[in-house]
């Protein structure tokens, strides 16, 4: 949706709410609750499809006024150029403020150490928490979905974090009806997941229905890639290839956007939304399983990272 579109005087047809309408309405409701109850919310925005949908919903929730929150990008420094370009273009288009928490800065001044494997997704937690504390953010919107992973399946839409950003799965608040409890003490904050009840396919169908623009890497294109741990990684300045990893030019697309050193592309010919939706519908692998090395590390990898304050 273009925020500059003038108000249409034509009225729309009234039709009963379908599944996507209900998911949209729920997400809009959540955005408005947070705007009403918190002082300093922020939207995590990576330029990936989930956070782009999140931002689109926020724009709808407050239209015709601008979104009353800034955006926060936890930047691993291992980005695909197309994604950063898209991020900046989107921020400008909606006239929003972008806060960048840079993993590279933390490595440069010694607050974080590069991991031996060069993977930076796990390093995002410290800059994220630091940015939340220093900006006094009290509500942090994330694009997490419960269908992504089984530890996420138990997370609330309003997920309370202590002063250390930690998630305690055994002490979650019961979440009743659509009455969200955002109460928190000074220093605590709440992670808010408006897309909790969406599936990957819902996200794609919604992108299609709303004609939401995405970074080009989500669609099939030719790219120089190499294979590591069964995943296709982009040959780039930060993460390889090593000498034993031959580079090939293949037709691929990305299913998720993440740190380039551990987010893989999939071989795909799906070059438009219809084809992507067909591919996602037929896929026999979860998007994280297919493309995220860090989630493969252990049975409870996500649970452990969430306990430490990860997204």
């Amino acid at each position: 949706m273009d925020p500059t579109t003038p108000i249409t005087l034509a009225t729309l047809d009234a039709s009963p709410l379908d599944a996507l309408d209900r998911l949209e309405s729920e997400a809009v409701h959540i955005f408005r609750e947070v705007a009403g109850e918190f002082d300093r919310p922020v939207i995590l925005f990576s330029g990936g499809k989930d956070s782009t949908v999140l931002l689109h919903l926020a724009v709808k929730a407050f239209w015709p006024a601008p979104v009353p929150f800034p955006l926060l990008h936890v930047d691993t420094g291992h980005n695909l150029a197309e994604v950063i370009e898209f991020r900046d273009h989107t921020v400008e288009r909606y006239g929003l403020r972008l806060v960048v928490a840079s993993v590279q800065d933390f490595i440069d001044d010694g607050r974080l150490d590069e991991r031996p494997d060069g993977t930076r997704n796990p390093l995002q937690t410290v800059p994220l928490l630091d940015s939340i504390t220093s900006n006094k953010f009290d509500a942090v919107f994330g694009g997490g979905r419960r269908d992504e992973e089984r530890a996420r399946a138990k997370e609330r839409i309003f997920s309370l974090r202590n002063a250390f950003g930690q998630w305690d799965p055994r002490r979650q608040r019961p979440e009743l009806w659509n009455l969200y409890n955002g109460r928190h003490r000074a220093g605590e904050h709440v992670r808010v997941f408006p897309l909790s009840n969406w599936t990957e396919l819902d996200v794609w169908r919604y992108i299609q229905r709303e004609r939401i623009e995405l970074p080009s890497i989500y669609f099939a294109h030719r790219r120089e890639v190499f294979q590591r741990d069964g995943m296709w990684l982009t040959a780039g300045p930060w993460f390889g290839p090593r000498s034993d990893e031959p580079v090939q030019e293949l037709t691929i697309r990305y299913r998720t956007v993440g740190d380039g050193s551990c987010t893989g592309a999939v071989l795909s010919e799906a070059s438009d939304l219809d084809q992507v939706i067909a591919e996602v519908s037929a896929s026999r692998l979860t998007e994280r399983g297919a493309t995220r090395a860090d989630d493969r590390l252990s049975e409870a990898a996500m649970e452990d990272r969430k306990r430490e304050g990860y997204f």
Partner: protein, 451 residues
């Protein structure tokens, strides 16, 4: 809109007693609808082999937390998603044994249908009856009784019939109309009648569990009820295009609104009419329950977050004292005179829980008058006094505007689920036939349709 087909959304909850095999049933539903993808399944196969099992343990698909897998139990409500070509499902999987009230109330609060499990060898247990009572109290409009482990009683029809009849009688007594309850013989472990029809139960002619979930009418939100709209946020902007724009953002909680409708703003009681229903895609001719919209009103009156815009005809009274049923969800007990916060719609106010008039006795399925306190998982009848008036509806009439949260003013934790009115007699209807139980205090409240 492209080629995408319209899908319904059904929200359902599951509940069952210990070892009824609920995680296995949910795992089976996901597995047989191909909602589990190969990498997840590989992980389950590996973990099953590690546990020395010869077939995959489908419960591992749903026990998400490490402590759950280690202890072999489900601790917390988990949400699961699956879809068929016509319908998407949001499933709240509620554990049956640990903190059953807390979890069942959470899962049931938004459910349009609940699946209750019993073990065919054990039949309807006391806990099954309590679960059904809590589901009735929370207004879940439809129930399915999954009589599980039917393979372990050699697919015996007469045993199934006895269990089904006992349960349907109980549900009817709780206020469930005929046709809103269905019993299905299943084996989650083997897969009988979950997704695929079983060859072992030729005597069962009803739908499989999935067929039923796919075809059961999705109860509409109450469209024809009086209009209710809690104001969440005031949208203001002043641009060349939108001069002094002032719109009231919220989700229609009940009824339908159209431009020109006369409305009243509560608690102040000021009247005006609806000028427009705004969405970014254009104005709507009407907005029904469940839709998030922005209302522009004809007159400039002072409205802020927490106010309720309601149909001028059939508006609720704003009251500062009301009877309610609370399901107590915190370790810290409720004592008479407790000072708390109450969140109703988009408004949070200070409140005092006055007298505790009765507590539901889970064991006897009766109520105990004048309890000293309510503890974790207790359900009781209380009197609530609020610092500011609230425009409440009876929960039995409206699940949205009849519901409230009780919040600890100190640490912000959620203490209880509150239901305005919602007589405990719903829970007392079935009293298990034990002597000495007191007589019912009234007729069962009817449960309202829709989430």
């Amino acid at each position: 809109m492209g080629s995408s087909t319209r899908l319904d959304l059904l929200r359902l909850a599951t509940a069952g007693s210990v070892d009824d095999g609920k995680s296995t049933l949910v795992g089976r539903l996901l597995y047989d609808t191909k909602s589990v993808l190969a990498d997840t399944l590989d992980a389950v196969h590996r973990a099953s082999v590690d546990k020395g099992l010869s077939t995959p343990d489908l419960s591992l698909l749903v026990d998400g937390l490490r402590s759950e897998r280690e202890q072999g139990i489900t601790i917390d409500v988990a949400y699961r998603y699956f879809a068929t070509p016509n319908r998407s499902f949001v499933l709240a999987d509620t554990p049956g044994h640990v903190q059953y009230t807390r979890n069942t109330v959470t899962g049931a609060s938004t459910a349009q249908l609940a699946v209750l499990l019993v073990d065919a060898r054990k039949g309807v247990l006391e806990q099954t009856r309590r679960h059904a009572a809590v589901l009735a109290l929370l207004g879940v409009p439809r129930l399915v009784l999954a009589v599980n482990k039917i393979d372990l009683i050699d697919y015996d029809e007469s045993t199934f019939e006895v269990i089904a009849k006992e349960f349907v009688d109980h549900a009817t007594a709780l206020g469930y109309p005929i046709g809103s309850v269905l019993s299905i013989p299943v084996s989650a472990l083997v897969g009988d009648n979950v997704v695929d029809r079983s060859a072992h139960t030729p005597w069962y002619v009803g739908p499989t569990l999935l067929e039923h979930l796919e075809t059961v009418p999705v109860e509409p939100d109450p469209h024809d009820a009086p209009f209710r709209f809690p104001v969440q946020y005031v949208i203001r902007t002043n641009t060349a295009e939108f001069t002094d724009y002032r719109g009231y953002a919220g989700q229609v909680a009940a009824g339908t609104v159209r431009p020109g409708d006369e409305v009243v703003v509560l608690p102040a009681g000021l009247r005006t009419t609806v000028e427009r229903i705004d969405t970014p895609a254009g104005g709507l001719p009407e907005a029904e329950a469940g839709r998030s919209v922005t209302l522009v009103l004809a007159d400039e009156i002072d409205i802020s977050r927490g106010d309720l815009i309601a149909a001028a005809a059939g508006a609720p009274a704003a009251v500062d004292e009301f009877d309610a049923t609370v399901a107590w969800l915190a370790d810290k007990p409720l004592r008479p005179g407790a000072r708390v916060l109450v969140k109703h719609g988009a408004r949070t106010v200070q409140a005092i829980v006055g007298e505790l008039s009765s507590r539901f006795d889970e064991q006897k399925l009766t109520s105990v008058p004048d309890p000293d306190s309510l503890g974790l998982n207790d359900i009781g009848r209380v009197r609530v006094r609020t610092a500011e008036p609230l425009p409440v509806d009876d929960y039995a009439v409206n699940r949205r505007t009849g519901a409230f949260l009780v919040i600890d003013a100190g640490d912000g934790s959620t203490l209880a689920a509150g239901l305005v009115g919602a007589g405990l007699q719903v829970l007392e209807t079935d009293r298990g036939g034990t002597g000495g139980a007191q007589a019912p205090t009234g007729t069962p409240d009817l449960v309202s349709p829709g989430p």
